[in-house]
């Protein structure tokens, strides 16, 4: 019994880690699609896309791990969550199809019309996928109606003002990460414009974070009340303080100093803290507000079997993923990468 409890917590943390890695990695590459409308020249768009072309499908693999891991370690939570957010999940999957194929098709299209349509698919797919992910997050936070082992709510439960705020915040946040990534990978005149975008999306992201926090509190959504209870406040208290410090540092590096790498790294830290804050609100629920991770856990034998592999394989995966990023490090050359 003791072992199974430990494993369940370990799996919850491991899955949270996978989702976090997904959010920041696909975050910046979805962000590039979100920024596309602000860059109309073909050359600009080419180099923006090339900055993530070698890594985007690796980034999306973390989404498969998130879904597959939930299925394996918490099958009941997976079985409740998917029908509960059926429309936004399906919409997200279809959106990811549009933007994923745009990476390849854009270079194969030779008429003006078809090039334009794949650009539009890339933009529409990226924005919709980000929006849907935010909505799914919101639906999860606001709580899901459960009866027995199944979803018992309605068709449109996922669509509320709160989930829409979450959706828009995620779009802003991904756009911000994307701009920070490009700020790191590009130089010259386009980098200047990217940095302006980063500033705008940074402000939008902060507005989003504050709005979601206030809405969570006002609506008494989920388990927000616990944030202020003693002794949890010892754990939760530092999060907003750190968040404010990082926001300050970000404004400095974006507005005053104009640094290359620092905004991206601080952006990752900003996401990590928001993620930690959300995690603390939800803990220990697999499906708020009723199903805990222990209720939803797969039998210990399932969790153990996978855990052995995950402990060995995840570090290896991180190592070769890191290597792939290392190979394609540095600023992009605008004179290469054209067709």
């Amino acid at each position: 019994m003791f072992a199974s409890i430990d494993l369940t917590v370990a799996w919850a943390l491991l899955l949270a880690f996978a989702v976090f890695v997904y959010v920041v990695l696909d975050g910046f590459d979805l962000g590039i699609g979100i920024l596309y409308p602000f860059f109309r020249k073909k050359e600009d768009r080419d180099i923006m896309m090339n900055s993530v072309a070698p890594v985007w499908d690796g980034n999306e693999t973390w989404l498969v791990l998130g879904g597959g891991g939930l299925f394996a370690a918490f099958p009941m939570a997976y079985a409740i969550l998917m029908p509960a957010v059926y429309p936004p999940i399906i919409a997200m999957l279809l959106a990811l199809i549009f933007r994923g194929v745009a990476f390849e098709y854009r270079w194969r299209a030779n008429s003006w019309m078809s090039k334009k349509s794949w650009d539009a698919a890339f933009i529409g797919g990226s924005v919709s996928a980000a929006l849907c992910q935010g909505i799914i997050l919101g639906a999860f936070l606001q709580g899901i109606e459960v009866e027995g082992r199944a979803y018992a709510g309605g068709w449109w439960d996922w669509l509320t003002p709160f989930t829409l705020i979450c959706g828009l915040s995620v779009v802003a946040g991904y756009g911000f990460l994307g701009a920070c990534w490009l700020n790191m990978k590009l130089e010259g005149e386009i980098q200047h414009r990217v940095r302006l975008m980063a500033r705008g999306f940074f402000v939008a992201t902060l507005v989003g974070v504050v709005a979601v926090s206030i809405a969570t509190y006002l609506l008494q959504v989920g388990l927000a009340v616990r944030w202020f209870a003693w002794p949890q406040v010892l754990l939760t208290g530092p999060v907003p303080v750190l968040l404010a410090l990082i926001a300050l540092a970000l404004s400095r590096s974006l507005f005053v100093e104009g640094r290359d790498r620092m905004p991206f790294l601080l952006g990752l830290a900003l996401f990590a803290l928001c993620f930690l804050g959300l995690g603390l609100s939800v803990w220990p629920y697999a499906i708020p507000p009723e199903v805990t991770i222990w209720d939803a856990a797969a039998p210990a034998k399932s969790q153990l079997f996978m855990f052995v592999g995950a402990i060995v394989l995840v570090p290896i995966i991180l190592a070769y993923t890191g290597y792939a990023y290392w190979v394609f490090r540095g600023k992009l050359d605008p004179n290469k990468g054209y067709h």
């Binding site: 180099i47 072309a53 070698p54 499908d57 690796g58 999306e60 693999t61 989404l63 498969v64 791990l65 879904g67 597959g68 299925f71 394996a72 370690a73 099958p75 009941m76 997976y78 079985a79 969550l81 998917m82 029908p83 059926y86 429309p87 999940i89 399906i90 279809l94 990811l96 199809i97 549009f98 994923g100 194929v101 390849e104 098709y105 270079w107 299209a109 078809s114 082992r149 199944a150 979803y151 068709w155 797969a298 039998p299 034998k301 399932s302 079997f305 592999g309 995950a310 394989l313 995966i317 993923t321 792939a324 190979v327 394609f328 600023k331 992009l332 050359d333 290469k336 990468g337 067709h339």
Partner: protein, 478 residues
């Protein structure tokens, strides 16, 4: 009853899963074979320094990149389809199959995706040795992926090594028994071989098309046609042998499926006939207008002309799979398999006569047979999946009890969205692939696109570019 356009939610969910998985399956079937083909080509190029191999590598790499992208995005859909449309199945069977799928992600998907970027863009960045390693990792990754997912699928066909908990969940008891379930080795061998054959016929079809266009002096064209025909000649007979073994294994574990494949409504005491064609009438329980070869079915399945074979009359009606679908899809698969064998033998004969690059009828047939592997793979998939009905986990969980608590309209609308979008998106992808295939592999074939690289001093850039373009010829000359 809650219906949408006359279908209930279960039927719609089945149609959606069947549609998305069949569409998805096309791309891995191509990727598994092409990844190995590319690794072989790259290896041959490094070994022999023969430019034709590099030319072919770059040529097929472009096609691989598109096909792989389509496989990735249609595959992400699959990892969520279980939960969206089959939530009860996910909850109950998740403890057993979930970990196997998690292992697929951890051991295969990351490996493929992690090294794909280097394989496509990284030759000049990491050097030939590491680039070759990346090609191998992608090829190995596709095969590992197939291994896990076929283990999952085989377990759903021949489940063992689990118990049923109080809450209804299947609890794993013996992982070895689960992974190496009885139908797994046969299904794995049969499916992997199918992927290699599929690719061989696509490559052969493209080669033949260019030969017909008078490009027999192009060493790339000759090499690809020759390699593909060797594969057809060697692997098609192997595949028929593996298929037979797989069938015998199915007879042992899922007899009702084989009865549907064979169209045996009636039991035969002494030697069952092989029904070549006929119109199955499941309601009446008989095969109409059948053309039969006496006793041949017993010979194939039991290796004995007079062995008795039970028919569907021994199976309760609510345990029977839909016969017509299984009967026909099986015939499509087997027919194509023998046609592939025919091409393989024909090419051997032409090769022996020294006419491999001149026999226009062989080339025409090879072009026509280009997509045959894809059709056979889908037909085989339908045979085995529909043949498992009415169960989703054979003998343990019925399909009708496994679906999500969703309104029929929700499943119906999303099904329509999938159908429309898949045809548009993947239709465009196929068009781009065909466009790439229309050009013969040329001297100095370009890569997927010149990769983004770190900035070099402005003055040297033109020279760098020059070196890039003349790269292959320089190597060839050296």
């Amino acid at each position: 009853m809650d219906t949408f356009l006359g279908f209930d939610a279960v039927m719609l969910a089945r149609m959606q899963f069947g549609f998305t998985v069949a569409f998805h399956f096309i791309f891995p079937a191509i990727s598994i074979g092409l990844a190995s083909f590319l690794a072989v080509l790259n290896g041959l190029y490094l070994w022999t320094k023969n430019e034709a191999y590099l030319r072919l590598f770059k040529y097929w790499l472009k096609i691989f990149a598109i096909s792989f992208a389509m496989g990735v995005v249609s595959g992400i859909v699959m990892s969520y389809q279980f939960g969206t449309n089959w939530s009860v199945f996910s909850d109950i069977a998740g403890p057993v199959i979930g970990p196997l799928m998690a292992y697929e992600v951890l051991t295969a998907f990351f490996l493929e995706a992690g090294f794909l970027g280097i394989m496509i863009f990284g030759r000049d960045k990491v050097g030939p040795g590491l680039h070759m390693f990346a090609c191998l990792m992608v090829a190995v990754g596709t095969a590992i992926s197939a291994t896990w997912i076929l283990s999952v699928n085989s377990w759903m066909q021949t489940p063992q090594g689990f118990s049923i908990a109080e809450n209804g969940q299947f609890v794993p008891e013996d992982w070895w028994a689960i992974i190496f379930n009885p139908s797994f080795p046969y299904r794995l061998a049969h499916t992997l071989t199918a992927a290699y054959l599929t690719t061989a016929f696509i490559v052969g079809g493209v080669g033949a098309w260019h030969l017909l266009r008078g490009r027999r002096e192009n060493p790339g064209v000759r090499t690809m046609f020759s390699m593909a025909m060797w594969m057809a000649a060697l692997v098609a007979p192997l595949q028929i042998f593996l298929g037979d073994m797989h069938g015998i294994n199915t007879l042992e574990h899922q007899p009702a499926k084989v009865m549907a494949m064979e169209g045996h409504f009636e039991s035969h005491e002494a030697g069952a006939p092989l029904i070549l064609f006929g119109i199955p009438d499941q309601d009446a329980g008989e095969m109409r207008y059948s053309i039969e070869i006496p006793k041949l079915s017993s010979l194939i399945l039991k290796h004995d002309l007079n062995a008795p074979l039970a028919g569907l009359d021994t199976i309760p009606d609510d345990e029977e799979p839909p016969v017509a679908v299984v009967f026909w899809s099986f015939r499509v698969m087997v027919g194509l398999g023998f046609a592939m064998l025919g091409i393989g033998l024909w090419s051997l004969w032409a090769r022996f006569r020294g006419r491999l690059y001149d026999n226009r009828w062989l080339h025409r047939t090879a072009v026509a047979m280009g997509p045959s592997g894809l059709v056979a793979v889908i037909a085989g998939w339908i045979t085995t999946e529909v043949g498992r009905q009415p169960y989703v986990v054979y003998g343990a969980l019925r399909t009708a009890e496994a679906h999500s608590p969703l309104a029929a309209s929700a499943v119906g609308v999303s099904l329509i969205a999938f159908v429309v979008i898949y045809f548009v998106i993947f239709g465009a992808g196929v068009a781009y692939i065909l466009k790439l295939m229309r050009h013969a592999p040329a001297l100095g074939e370009r890569g997927v696109r010149v990769e983004p690289g770190p900035i070099r001093t402005t003055g040297i850039t033109p020279q760098q570019q020059l070196r890039e373009d003349g790269h292959d010829m320089a190597k060839e000359g050296a």
